[in-house]
Amino acid sequence: MKATTPEAPVVEIRRAIKQFRTPEGQRVPALAGIDLSVGAKEFVTLLGPSGCGKTTLLRTISGFEALDEGSIQIQGQEMNRVPPHARPVNTVFQNYALFPHLSVGENVGYGLSVRGVPKRERLQRVGEALEMVGMNGLQQRSPSQLSGGQQQRVALARAIINRPALLLLDEPLSALDRHLRQTMQRELKSLQNELGIAFVFVTHDQEEALTMSDRIVVLNGGHIQQQGKPTEIYDRPVNAFVAEFIGESNRFRGTLEPGDGGLGRLCLAGDEPLVLRRPAQSVAGELQVMLRPEQFCVHPPSGDRYASLKGRLTAKAFVGRDLEVILETRGGQPIKAALRGHDGQTLAGRELGDEVALWYAIDAPHVIAA
């Protein structure tokens, strides 16, 4: 998966600062100094909880919010004083924002008709755009006659018909049911390949972000917490927020003591130490170590170096492919594990309250800042 393209970035944001005023007169930072660039054919996802600034960032790119400080360049041009209708970007809005008084065809053709594209060309391009989203032939329908998924497609067709340099998508899939959402995720991805333009996609759904993105930008409190390929973000979160927000994680807090053979021992309160490979950079004092639920197993393969954690089985639930179990260590730390295959069958046979050992590769624990 390519994370960055060598070509010039289509969007370049530098030190973007934006504050909102509450009715009580307090200033709330929405963007607290964001630096971000988006490559010409990149699929970038802005991910974060509500109120993290992701929608504000998107709206500063589209021009609906002005920055207090900092600059935004699109295709090398300064955009701070350019109104939304003059920017080479288009948006797919969260609630689709289809014009209720216009037909599907007129909605899709709106961008062309306000630019004065002649009717013949307009009709042809409307047909092409609708074809791309699999909706050709429904030009005469009214938006209210369409299902949520169809409205979504029309909104997409309407946004791409102006051939923008960049397509902004503001949580476009949040109103769809799970099955449809997955279909649309695949279609969006292939549409992006077909169009060859950059997508900036806003979501609070980490699964969606992981599936679709070339690069994920995790935002919280107006700051970029981490950006990188989905695998990077998932495997090596830089802080507790990212570890918690993306996927499920077990975190252990303690102080690191050197052990033999390049190993380290994380001393936990009230528990046996957790063995791990000593991180390359020297870390001192208290730190946190993360293990993902799927990094545990019951029968460690021989040959590799594995260590174990012990605890009482307090919950188990079969969720399809995996058996999800929760252990509680002597020190009271819960450990969540997802086990499959033989491992899962083994633990499925155990009773709640039994003492169980879970194994992990000593390379697996990821050290994050405390």
Binding site: P84, A97, Y110, G111, S142
Partner: protein, 319 residues
């Protein structure tokens, strides 16, 4: 229609008796009083006026029960007898009233549209306060409010005092008893009737649609013309009808602010009933106003129905 449906189910005995009888009785109970009230106090007087408009006026007021076509003939042109004569002045007064009503509706729209937008964007508490302010004039008597305008507009009034103080004009500007004064008064009393339906449709307008229009490359004017205006059209039409119809028949404003100079059809009707004591002619004028209003409304309803009718089959044919 619903009563006939209900009674037909009763006759076929398809539904259990108790169930179907209850809505029928409650329907009669609910609709009965208002039907009786409107029948007695609205339809009956209207019917009397319709009949009177075709009767001969009595010499000292009242009516003589003879069919008499010259009431309408005086207005529309076929009366040329020794007693009643066609006079184009009535038609010209009607035309002036139509013009004044039209201008009033247009001015109300121009004044209220931006204000309604502004109010709809206020935070809820201030918004409700503004709505209260707009309905505030209804708490004071119409006559008192119009006399206030007389005080403002008369030659020695507040407006001329202000103009003289500012040094804009030395001689008093003769504003009162002009069509302008009548228009000012009418816009003043009619503006809330325009504002409320306008506000209702503007408040419902989804801001996201305006943003979508900008996003797709439309500037402010194009967005207004192609998104905002069509989506607030129901409010514009509703408000215009609510202003136009009462303005057309208004006689208080022209008689207080227009004097003898600006006579509207309402004044004429009032004079026929109260001063000339020619009820049949007054009734004929009133019927004429009513038929003009009904005619205009019919045209409007036809136009909207036709738009819907042309929309729907087109959609189905193409889909």
């Amino acid at each position: 229609m619903s009563t006939t449906q209900l009674s037909s189910t009763l006759e076929t005995g398809a539904a259990p008796k108790a169930r179907s009888r209850r809505p029928r009785w409650s329907l009669i109970a609910l609709l009965g009083p208002v039907t009786a009230f409107l029948g007695v106090f609205f339809f009956m007087p209207l019917a009397i006026m319709a009949v009177f408009s075709l009767l001969e006026p009595g010499l000292y007021g009242g009516v003589v029960w003879n069919f008499y076509a010259d009431n309408f003939g005086r207005i529309l042109g076929w009366a040329n007898g020794p007693i009643e004569e066609f006079d184009p002045v009535y038609l010209s007064i009607l035309m002036r009233s139509l013009r004044i009503a039209l201008i009033t509706a247009a001015l109300c729209l121009l004044v209220c549209y931006p204000v309604a937008f502004w109010v709809s964007r206020l935070p809820p508490r201030r918004r409700n306060f503004c709505l209260f302010l707009i309905t505030l004039p209804f708490f004071a008597s119409l006559i008192v409010r119009l006399y206030a305008w007389v005080l403002i507009l008369r030659p020695s009034g507040a407006l001329n005092g202000l103009l003289a103080w500012l040094g804009i004009s030395d001689a008093p500007v003769g504003l009162i008893y002009t069509e302008a004064a009548v228009l000012i008064g009418l816009v003043y009393i009619m503006a809330p009737f325009m504002f409320l339906p306008l506000y209702a449709s503007i408040e419902k307008l989804d801001r996201g649609l305006i943003e979508a229009s900008y996003d797709l490359g439309a500037g402010r004017i194009t967005t207004f013309r192609r998104v905002t205006l069509p989506l607030t059209l129901p409010g514009i039409i509703g408000g215009s009808i609510l202003v136009f119809i009462p303005t057309l028949g208004n006689f208080i404003v022209p008689s207080l602010l227009g004097g003898a100079q600006v006579l509207m059809i309402g004044n004429l009707i009032e004079q026929q009933f109260l001063q000339a004591r020619n009820w049949p002619f007054g009734a004929a004028l009133a019927m004429l106003v009513m038929s003009v209003v009904l005619g205009l409304l019919t045209l409007y309803v036809r136009a909207t129905l036709r738009r819907q009718a042309t929309d729907v089959p087109g959609k189905e044919a193409q889909a």
